[in-house]
Amino acid sequence: MTDDILDSIQPQAELNEEGLNELAQLTQWARWNAILSLLAMVCSFSTNLYTAVKFPEAPDAISSFITAILGALLSLLLNTTLLSATGKLKTSIAGYDQELFNMGLAKLTKYFKITGILTIIALVFITIAIISGLSAIATRQ
């Protein structure tokens, strides 16, 4: 099915000026997105680290610190992948490098694949939370 759809497009369709322009702008915004997200992650992690060091006796200090580490690792994985994808795409558009262009698009696929997998994990956790919430309400009745 996938192959049928992919084969139906004009083989080796050339990207014209409009396409290249759109791709260049997309790359630029995605790059800014990754940079700002990484900076936000560093700030958030620093704040959590500061709180954990300054108030170690706080009841949620350890759990919030562990959550911050997990969040930072996930953000690092996602945003470095996006940064790598945009870097490759940017260079390939500037130098008309087909191989690098394909590598950049493959990295972009990887970025959305990781996001998709994280969405699945989040959905599982949310479903568990809803079920346990509903059962808690039912138990109290």
Binding site: L6, L15, G19, A40, T47, Y50, F101, T109, T115, I120
Partner: protein, 149 residues
Amino acid sequence: MEQKIQDSLSEFGLKLDDESRTSLYKTGRWTQFISVAVFSLGALTVLFIIVLKDKLTFYMNREMGISANNGARFWVFFIMILLMIAIIAAIYYFLFMFSTKIKKGFEAESTTLVYDGLKSLKIYFIITTIFSGLILLLNLMGIISKLIQ
């Protein structure tokens, strides 16, 4: 002369070859899944709040000390949640449009649709970049307030 220049540029131009088309198609499938999941979750949350309205009002009154005679507060809370869901849905609408247009573009052999898809993905990244900037600003304000204390 101009045609010759165009031809020579085409020789070095970027192409939507098999590899890049496969990558774009796979990206489209993942973005479709992500956007549909977000839409479903938003709808579920609204449904959850409507169905459990009385229970939520009761717990809000008890846990947050919200006055029982002020039912309007529940609606303020509900509208805020609804607004948040609407903003998130609007962002993910562009991701959904990207996947739809890329798929249709491949099916209809239309590079215009593929470019439209790329445009939708660009808008998605523009909005998420603005939100990332706002989150960064909030984090910086948090750090500054902690340093001042």
